[in-house]
C-alpha cells in the first residue's frame, strides 16, 4: 500500500517534544492534577494542625511507613492495568519473609541465600496465581482470594506460628537499616522499584502489551499478543515485589513473623486506584501510584500526630479514600 496522500510528513521530533513526551509518560492520567492537588491539600491541613508534621524527620518517617505498600503497589499497578487483581500480596509477603529467614538460618546465615529465597518465594506465588488465572480461566479475584488464605496458612505452618530470628548484620544493612547515598535503604528500595516500574511500564515492550491486554484483551489477542503470558508476567512481578517488601520488613525488625501486615492488600489496592488506575483496565501510571501510596501514608501519619483514636483513623481513612476516588475519577 503505497499511495494515498503524502508519504513522509513527519519532521524529526525536537528536543522539547521529547521532554514533553517524557513528562506525559510520567504524569499522565485522566485528571492528573487532581491527585497532586489532593496531596498538597492534605499536607497543608496536617501542617496547620500539627507542629510536628512539617519536618524532615517526619517525612522520612512517612517514607519508611509507606515503603511496603509503595513497593508492592508498583506491581499491583501492572496487574490492575491488565484488568486483574491480586488479593494475596500481604500473605505472599509473610510467606516470603519466613522463607528468607528460614533459608538463612539453614544455609550459612548468608544474606544472599535469604534474598534469593524471599524473592523466589514471592515470584513463585505470583507464577501460581498467574497460571491458575490464565490457564484455568478462573477470575483472579477468586484465585488470589484462595492464595491469600493458603500463603498465610503455609507461613504459619512452617514454624507453627513462631517468628524466626535473623542475625545477619549485612542483611539488616542492605534491606532495613543502612543508608544508600544518604537515603535510608527502605526508601532507596522503594525508589528503585518505582524506577524499574516506570521503565517497564512506560518504556518497555512489556508495558505496551500490558496496556493493550487491559485495554481490550480480544484486540490484543487479534494483534498477536500472548495475553496469557503477559498477564502471568504481571503476577510474577507483583509476587517478586512482595518478596522484596518482605526482605525490607524482616531486615527492619530483625525477624520474620508469619502474622505480619494482615489486610495490607487493601491499602495497596487503594493506593493504586487513588493513583489513577482504572479498575476496568488499560489506564494507569506508576507515579500516580506513588502519590496514591503517599496520600495513604500521610493520612496514617497525620491522624496519629493529631491524636485521633485508631478506630476513628480507620473511619476517616476509608471516607477520604472514597471521596478522593470520587473526585479524581473522570
Amino acid at each position: 500500500m503505497t499511495e494515498l496522500i503524502a508519504p513522509n510528513v513527519v519532521a524529526a521530533s525536537t528536543r522539547s517534544d521529547r521532554r514533553r513526551r517524557i513528562l506525559q509518560n510520567l504524569l499522565r492520567g485522566e485528571r492528573p492534577y487532581m491527585l497532586y492537588i489532593a496531596f498538597v491539600i492534605l499536607l497543608v491541613v496536617f501542617s496547620l494542625s500539627s507542629p510536628w508534621f512539617l519536618s524532615v524527620d517526619n517525612f522520612l518517617n512517612i517514607g519508611r511507613q509507606t515503603t511496603l505498600v509503595s513497593i508492592i503497589a508498583v506491581g499491583m499497578t501492572f496487574i490492575i492495568i491488565a484488568r486483574q487483581i491480586d488479593l494475596s500480596v500481604a500473605s505472599t509477603l509473610a510467606l516470603s519473609g519466613m522463607a528468607a529467614a528460614l533459608a538463612m538460618s539453614q544455609i550459612n546465615n548468608s544474606w544472599i541465600v535469604g534474598a534469593v529465597a524471599g524473592l523466589g518465594t514471592g515470584a513463585l506465588v505470583g507464577l501460581i496465581n498467574g497460571i491458575l488465572t490464565t490457564q484455568l480461566s478462573i477470575p483472579s479475584f477468586l484465585v488470589t482470594l484462595g492464595s491469600l488464605s493458603m500463603a498465610r496458612g503455609l507461613a504459619m505452618m512452617v514454624t507453627n506460628t513462631k517468628p524466626v530470628i535473623i542475625t545477619n548484620e549485612t542483611y539488616f544493612a542492605i534491606f532495613g537499616e543502612g543508608t544508600f547515598l544518604g537515603i535510608p535503604v527502605p526508601i532507596a528500595w522503594t525508589l528503585a522499584a518505582m524506577i524499574v516500574g516506570i521503565l517497564l511500564l512506560h518504556y518497555n515492550v512489556f508495558g505496551r502489551r500490558i496496556y493493550a491486554v487491559g485495554g481490550n484483551p480480544t484486540a490484543a489477542l487479534y494483534s498477536g499478543i500472548n495475553t496469557k503470558r503477559i498477564t502471568t508476567a504481571a503476577f510474577v512481578l507483583t509476587g517478586t515485589l512482595a518478596g522484596l517488601a518482605a526482605l525490607v520488613l524482616s531486615a527492619r525488625s530483625h525477624a520474620a513473623r508469619p502474622d505480619v501486615v494482615q489486610g495490607m492488600e487493601l491499602d495497596v489496592i487503594a493506593a493504586v486506584i487513588l493513583g489513577g488506575c482504572s479498575l476496568f483496565g488499560g489506564r494507569g501510571y506508576i507515579l500516580g501510584t506513588l502519590f496514591g501510596s503517599l496520600i495513604i501514608g500521610t493520612l496514617n501519619n497525620g491522624l496519629v500526630l493529631l491524636g485521633v483514636s485508631s478506630p476513628m483513623q480507620l473511619v476517616i481513612k476509608g471516607a477520604i479514600i472514597v471521596a478522593a476516588v470520587a473526585f479524581t475519577k473522570r
Binding site: Y211, G215, A219, Y222, G224
Partner: protein, 526 residues
C-alpha cells in the same frame, strides 16, 4: 412506490395499527434514517428487508424506545406517541424479540415469563403454584409447546426463542417485532416459530418481521417494506410481487449499474497464477471440506449468509480455530498456525468483523493501536523505540488519510470510517502476504468506503493475496476477482469475474444455494 393507499388483496388486513411517518435519525455524520415511513396493520405480518446498514435496526430501536428519532411521528391506533425509554414503548404495547435473547438462563420458562410480575402473597413471597398455573395457561392459550418447568439454559435455541416470544406477548402487546428470528433455526424449528407467529396475529397482534431470507417473506408476510441506505425503497403487497423485484429494491438497480461500468478496467488485470493461500478439503468444527485458493495479487470474496462459515474460514487461517483435517498452504508451504502471533509472523493479517471488540483498543491513541501487532519491530532489547513508533503512526495517519488531529488522538474520538482506517494501518507495513478482511466497510460512510476500497486494491496490486468476507454483495462484485459462495461451512461454488453481472444475480444465487444447502444439512444430520 408500488403501494398506493388502496390495498385490494383481501389477505392484507385493513385496520391500521402503527403508523410511522417521515422518521429521521442521525448518528454523528451518518444519516441512518431519512424520511422513513412504515405502516403496520392489526393481524398483519409485515416483513422488513434491507442490506446490513440499510437502517432496519435503527428503525426498530426507535420503535422500541432505545433511540429517539430526530424528526418524524409515530402513531399507535391513531394516537401520536413519543418514546423516551424502552419502558414507554413497552407500555404502548410494542414488544421486541432481539437476536441476542434477554432471558435468565438459570431460571425456568415459567419464571422467565413472569419475571418481575410474579404472583405473590401479602408478605412478598412468590406463590409458586399460581405462577406455574398462570404460565401454563398462557402457553396453552398461545398453543406454544413448552415445558414451563424446564430451565431456559437447557432448551434448544428455537425453544428459547419461543420463550422469548411468549414473554413478549405477555400483557397488552399490540405490535411484536422479530429481528431475524430464524437465523439460527433448523427448518423444523422455523415451522414451530411460524405457527406461534400465526397464533399471535390471530389475536390481533401486528408483527414486524426482519429477515434476510426472502423465501420466508413469501411464506408468512402479507406486505413487505424494503429499506435502502436509510430510506424507503418500496412497500409491496407480498402476493403482488416476486423475488426479482424485491432483490432489485434491496440492492438498488442504479448502484449496481454504475459500479459495473467503473470496474471494467480492473477485470483486465492479469493475475500471478501461483496461489499465495490454498485450502484443500479443510474441515473443523465449523468448516466442511473447504477447497479454496487465493492468488498473489488477487482479491477473493466470500459470500454467504451470517453463520454460513465465512468468518470461520478467516479465523482458521489466522490461527484462531484449529484445523481438524485437510491442509492449508501459504506460498506452497504447509500452514498449521499455533495462534495469531504465529500467523502475524508468517505474514497473515486480519481486519476483524467487529472493530470495537476485536480490532481496536478504543481508549488508546492511534499510535498505540497502529503499532500493536508490530511491537517487536519497534523495540531493541525489549525497549520501545518510541520515536520510530511515533513516526510510523504519523505516516500511517497521513498515508491512509485518517481524519484526526494527530497520531496521539484517542481512537474512540474518531468516526467509524476513520477507526477502520486505523485498523488497516495496523497491517500497512510490512506488506502482508495474506490480507484477511471481515466486513471491511460495515458502519463506514460512503466517502471513507471508497478510500478503503483504494487501500484494498493497492494491497492487492502490491502483491498481497486478499480474502474478503462481506454481506454487501455490491461491494464483493466491485472489489473481487473471484467470489466463493459459502453455505453451511462449505464452498458451494466459486465464480470468476465476468461469470456474474450484478449483485442481484449473486443474491439469487445465494438464496438458491441457501435453500438447497438447508436440505443438504438436514440429510447430513438425519
Amino acid at each position: 412506490m408500488e403501494l398506493s393507499g388502496s390495498v385490494a388483496a383481501e389477505s392484507v388486513p385493513s385496520t391500521s395499527l402503527v403508523m410511522v411517518r417521515a422518521i429521521n435519525k442521525r448518528f454523528g455524520g451518518v444519516r441512518a434514517l431519512r424520511d422513513v415511513n412504515l405502516e403496520v396493520r392489526a393481524s398483519e405480518v409485515h416483513a422488513l428487508l434491507g442490506e446490513n446498514g440499510a437502517g432496519k435496526s435503527t428503525l426498530i430501536k426507535i420503535l422500541s424506545g432505545v433511540h429517539a428519532a430526530d424528526a418524524g411521528t409515530i402513531e399507535i391506533a391513531g394516537k401520536p406517541v413519543e418514546f423516551d425509554s424502552p419502558a414507554k414503548s413497552r407500555e404502548a404495547g410494542i414488544a421486541v424479540v432481539y437476536q441476542d435473547l434477554s432471558l435468565v438462563e438459570s431460571l425456568s420458562v415459567a419464571d422467565n415469563l413472569l419475571l418481575g410480575r410474579e404472583p405473590r402473597t401479602a408478605f412478598g413471597f412468590v406463590r409458586r403454584r399460581a405462577l406455574m398455573a398462570r404460565a401454563e395457561a398462557f402457553l396453552k392459550e398461545l398453543g406454544i409447546p413448552l415445558d414451563t418447568r424446564a430451565s431456559v439454559g437447557s432448551l434448544p435455541f428455537a425453544y428459547r426463542q419461543m420463550t422469548e416470544i411468549a414473554k413478549a406477548l405477555m400483557g397488552e402487546v399490540r405490535l411484536l417485532i422479530l429481528d431475524e428470528p430464524t437465523s439460527s433455526l433448523t427448518s423444523d424449528e422455523v415451522r414451530i416459530l411460524f405457527d406461534a407467529i400465526g397464533k399471535a396475529t390471530r389475536r390481533g397482534v401486528g408483527v414486524i418481521y426482519v429477515t434476510h431470507r426472502l423465501n420466508e417473506v413469501f411464506e408468512i408476510s402479507q406486505r413487505v417494506t424494503v429499506l435502502r441506505d436509510g430510506a424507503n425503497a418500496g412497500t409491496f403487497v407480498t402476493t403482488d410481487t416476486d423475488m426479482k423485484r424485491l432483490v432489485n429494491a434491496i440492492v438498488g438497480t442504479d448502484r449496481s449499474v454504475s459500479i459495473g461500468a467503473r470496474t471494467e478496467p480492473a477485470a483486465k488485470r492479469e493475475l500471478d497464477p501461483s496461489p499465495v493461500l490454498s485450502f484443500s478439503s479443510v474441515s473443523n468444527d465449523r468448516l466442511r471440506a473447504v477447497d479454496l485458493s487465493v492468488r498473489k495479487g488477487e482479491i477473493h470474496g466470500l459470500a454467504g449468509l451470517i453463520g454460513s462459515g465465512r468468518t470461520e474460514i478467516l479465523e482458521t487461517v489466522f490461527g484462531l480455530r484449529p484445523i481438524e483435517s485437510g491442509a492449508i498452504e501459504i506460498e506452497g508451504r504447509r500452514w498449521l498456525p499455533s495462534g495469531p502471533a504465529d500467523a502475524i509472523e508468517r505474514g497473515v493479517a486480519l481486519v476483524p468483523e467487529d472493530r470495537h471488540v476485536q480490532g481496536l483498543v478504543l481508549d488508546h491513541s492511534i499510535e498505540r493501536n497502529v503499532t500493536l501487532p508490530r511491537i517487536p519491530h519497534f523495540s531493541r532489547w525489549g525497549w520501545m523505540q518510541q520515536r520510530a513508533a511515533a513516526r510510523r503512526a504519523e505516516s500511517a495517519v497521513a498515508r491512509l488519510a485518517v481524519k484526526a488531529p494527530g497520531a496521539s488522538s484517542l481512537v474512540r474520538t474518531l468516526s467509524g470510517g476513520n477507526q477502520q482506517k486505523v485498523v488497516f494501518g495496523k497491517w500497512n507495513d510490512p506488506r502482508p502476504r495474506v490480507l484477511l478482511l471481515d466486513e471491511p466497510t460495515v458502519g463506514v460512510d460512503v466517502g471513507a468506503r471508497e478510500e478503503i476500497y483504494a487501500v484494498i486494491r493497492n494491497a492487492a496490486r502490491d502483491g498481497s493475496g486478499v480474502l474478503v468476507v462481506s454481506s454487501d454483495l455490491v461491494e464483493l462484485i466491485e472489489l473481487c476477482d473471484r467470489i466463493s459462495v459459502i453455505v453451511n461451512g462449505h464452498v458451494a461454488r466459486t465464480l470468476v469475474r465476468g461469470e456474474i453481472d450484478d449483485a442481484e444475480e449473486l443474491h439469487h444465487l445465494l438464496q438458491m444455494y441457501q435453500a438447497s444447502g438447508l436440505s443438504l444439512s438436514q440429510e447430513l444430520s438425519a
